[in-house]
C-alpha cells in the first residue's frame, strides 16, 4: 500500500461510450451513443465525494479507452464535475477485451497513482461486468463491487462499501487504494448544466495510445459471430380473468 504524505485523494473514474440503453439494437453505427449508465453513476459518486470532502479530494480524472468519438464521453464527465480527462485512443474497429482494458487502466494507475478507482459494474453493450475485478486482481488491490453505498472514513485510509449481493447486501471495509464498481442504486446522476458544459470545453484532455502505455489490446478470445436471439412471439390476449385461468390450466402451469 502506498503511503501518502498528505491525505488528499486522487480519484480515477474509467468510463465507456456505449449505445444508448433505450435503443433497440440493430446496427451499432446508426444508433445513438451515450455514456454507459453505470459509469455516469461512477462519475456522480466521485463528484459527490468532492462535495462532501472538499479539498480532501485532490483530483478527479475521467478516463476512457475508445475511438475518437469517445471524447464526447469524457466531455460529459468533465461537465458533471471531473477535473481532467485521459483518452486512450484506439481504432473504431477494435473491440478490446476486459482484460486488455484492465491492463490499460493498470498502466495509467501505475503512472498517475490514484487512491481510489470508481467505475461501472458492467457496460451495457458487452454485459461482461469484469473489468473492475480484473483491474483489482492485476493490482492486487481490494475490490468493492456492485456498490450501493460508499463512505470514505476519517483519515482517508479506508473506505466502507456496501455491496449488493444475492438476497441482500453486505458491507466491507477496504484499505485504500481500492477499486469500487457501481450498482444502479448508488446514486442518481446529475444532468450537466449548460454553463458547466461550456466550462468542460476548457478542461484538459490528455491523449495517449495503448502503445505508449506498453499494452497490447489484441483479444485473446475469438469472436465467431453475433446473431439475433430467437424471436419470442406474443400469444394474443385474453378477455377475462376466467379465460386467463382456463388458459393457464390448459397449459398445465397452475
Amino acid at each position: 500500500m502506498r503511503p501518502s504524505a498528505i491525505n488528499r485523494l486522487k480519484v480515477l473514474v474509467p468510463i465507456k461510450r456505449c449505445v444508448d440503453y433505450s435503443v433497440k439494437i440493430r446496427v451499432v453505427n446508426n444508433a445513438v451513443d451515450t455514456n454507459n449508465p453505470f459509469d455516469e453513476i461512477a462519475v456522480e459518486e466521485a463528484v459527490r465525494l468532492r462535495e462532501k470532502m472538499g479539498t480532501k479530494i485532490e483530483t478527479i480524472t475521467a478516463l476512457t479507452i475508445g475511438p475518437t468519438k469517445s471524447q464526447e464521453t469524457l466531455r460529459t464527465a468533465l461537465a458533471m464535475g471531473a477535473d481532467k480527462g485521459v483518452h486512450v485512443e484506439i481504432p473504431e474497429s477494435s473491440s478490446p477485451e476486459p482484460l486488455g482494458i484492465a491492463k490499460t487502466i493498470e498502466a495509467l494507475i501505475k503512472r498517475d497513482k490514484p487512491d481510489i478507482v470508481i467505475m461501472g459494474k458492467q457496460a451495457i453493450d458487452g454485459d461482461q461486468g469484469m473489468t473492475g475485478q480484473m483491474l483489482a486482481g492485476l493490482l492486487e488491490w481490494p475490490q468493492g463491487t456492485q456498490a450501493s453505498k460508499v463512505v470514505i472514513r476519517e483519515g482517508e485510509k479506508d473506505v466502507d462499501v456496501t455491496r449488493e449481493i444475492d438476497g441482500g447486501s453486505e458491507t466491507v471495509r477496504l484499505r485504500l487504494p481500492a477499486i469500487i464498481t457501481t450498482d444502479l442504486r448508488l446514486n442518481e446522476p446529475r444532468y450537466a448544466s449548460l454553463p458547466n458544459i461550456m466550462k468542460a470545453k476548457k478542461k484538459p484532455i490528455e491523449k495517449v495510445t495503448p502503445e505508449s502505455l506498453g499494452v497490447d489490446l489484441t483479444p485473446i478470445l475469438e469472436t465467431v459471430g453475433v446473431a439475433e436471439p430467437p424471436k419470442r412471439v406474443g400469444g394474443g390476449k385474453v378477455e377475462s380473468v376466467d379465460e386467463l385461468v382456463a388458459k393457464l390450466k390448459e397449459a398445465g402451469v397452475v
Binding site: G137, L184, E228, V241, D242, L244, V245
Partner: protein
C-alpha cells in the same frame, strides 16, 4: 499482453507441457461450488451441467468458513453426477467468501492438477471472484454463458450481449489455459445427485494466509419464506403501477402465495422503494426463466425483458394494450391490475 502467436513463441515450453499433460479432447474442469448451510446451491448444479458439456473430468472445489458446514457440502459434492474429485478449504478467513481471500484458494487448487477449465455459476459471488482470478492468471474469462462446447480448436461459448438482444459466439483457443467461465443458471438444467455411498476422494487444501486490506463488516439478508427468485418455478413480478410498497404487498403477495411463486419486481418498482433491490428482475438484476412468469403493471422495457424473456410462459396484466410486454407475453390481459389481480387470486383459490 502478447498476441497468440507471440505468446506461443515466447512460452513454447508451457504450450508443449500443456499438450503433453492433457491429450487432445481431455479436459479437466475445476468447478467452484457454492453452498448454503452445507447444501450445494441450485445454480451451482446448473454450472455442473455446463461443465459436463466439456466431456472431461470435473473436480469440485468447496470453500467455507466453518469446518462442519464445509464437510456437509463436501459430502453433498461427492455425490454429484460427474464429479470425480473434491478439493475443499475451510478457515474463518473464508467465512464471507471475499474475492480477495478466495482468489488464492482457487489459484492453489489449480496447482493440484493440470486443469483446462474453471467454471462456476454466474452468481454475485462468482462475478466478483472469477474475473479477479482470471486477471491474476493472465487469461480472459467468459461470463454468463448459455452454451458450452469443446472441440479440437478450443472451447466455444454463446452468451447474451446488449441486454439479451444479441447472442455472441466466442471461442477460447486451447492455448488459453485455464479457460474460465460462469454459466447462466437458467440456461442449464440442474445436475443429478446420486444416492448412496460415494467413493469420490476429497482432499483438504493447505490454508493460505488472509490477504490484508479487506475486512467484512456485516451482511443483511432480506428474509422471505418464498422460493428463491433465481430458481423459482413461478414468479410474480410487479412494476411501477403498484403505486407504493404497501399496495405492492397487498396486490402481489396474495397472488404469489396462491401460486407458491417467488416475488420479483421491475427496476422502476425497486427504485421507487416498493421492494428490496434483491428482487429486481432484469439486465442489472436477476435473470429468471421460470415455468410461469406473471408481469403485473410492468411495461416491458428492454432492461426488464433481458431478465425474464426466456420464461416458459409469460402472462402480462397491464391496462395499456400497447405496452411492449404484450409483445412477448403468451397471455396478455388488458385490464386494471387492481381489479384483475384480486379476481385472479380468488379464482385460482377455487
Amino acid at each position: 499482453m502478447l498476441s497468440h502467436p507471440l505468446r506461443r513463441a515466447a512460452f513454447p515450453s508451457t504450450r508443449l507441457l500443456r499438450t503433453y499433460a492433457t491429450p487432445a479432447g481431455a479436459s479437466h474442469t475445476l468447478l467452484f461450488l457454492e453452498h448454503s448451510q452445507g447444501a450445494i446451491e441450485p445454480a451451482s448444479l446448473s454450472a455442473l451441467t455446463a461443465a459436463q458439456h466439456l466431456k472431461g473430468k470435473i473436480t469440485a472445489l468447496v470453500v467455507g468458513g466453518e469446518d462442519e458446514e464445509v464437510q456437509r457440502a463436501v459430502e453433498h459434492a461427492k455425490k454429484l453426477d460427474g464429479v470425480s474429485k473434491v478439493i475443499f478449504a475451510s478457515s474463518p478467513t473464508y467465512k464471507n467468501l471475499l474475492p480477495e481471500q478466495v482468489t488464492p484458494v482457487i489459484k492453489a487448487s489449480l496447482g493440484k492438477d493440470s486443469f483446462t477449465h474453471v467454471a462456476a455459476a454466474h452468481s454475485t459471488l462468482a462475478k466478483s471472484l472469477l474475473p479477479r482470478v482470471a486477471a491474476q492468471l493472465n487469461v480472459s474469462a467468459v461470463p454468463d454463458v448459455i452454451s458450452v462446447s469443446s472441440g479440437d480448436n478450443g472451447t466455444t461459448f454463446t452468451r447474451p450481449i446488449y441486454a439479451g438482444n444479441a447472442i455472441s459466439t466466442v471461442r477460447a483457443p486451447n492455448s488459453v489455459s485455464p479457460t474460465i467461465f460462469t454459466a447462466r443458471a437458467t440456461a442449464f438444467p440442474k445436475a443429478k445427485v446420486n444416492d448412496g455411498a460415494s467413493s469420490v476422494e476429497a482432499s483438504k487444501l493447505d490454508l493460505t494466509d488472509a490477504v490484508p486490506g479487506v475486512e467484512h463488516l456485516e451482511t443483511k439478508l432480506a428474509k422471505s419464506d418464498r422460493p428463491d427468485l433465481a430458481v423459482a418455478g413461478r414468479v410474480v413480478s410487479g412494476g411501477r403501477a403498484l403505486k407504493d410498497a404497501e399496495t405492492f404487498k397487498k396486490i402481489i403477495d396474495p397472488l404469489a402465495d396462491v401460486l407458491g411463486a417467488a416475488v420479483g419486481a421491475s427496476r422502476a418498482a425497486v427504485d421507487a422503494g416498493y421492494v428490496d433491490n434483491s428482487l429486481q428482475v432484469g439486465q442489472t438484476g436477476k435473470v429468471v426463466a421460470p415455468e410461469l412468469y406473471i408481469a403485473v403493471g410492468i411495461s416491458g422495457a428492454i432492461q426488464h425483458l433481458a431478465g425474464m424473456k426466456d420464461s416458459k410462459m409469460i402472462v402480462a396484466i397491464n391496462k395499456d394494450p400497447d405496452a411492449p410486454i404484450h409483445q412477448v407475453a403468451d397471455l396478455g390481459y388488458v385490464a386494471d391490475l387492481f381489479e384483475a389481480v384480486p379476481e385472479l387470486v380468488e379464482k385460482l383459490k377455487k
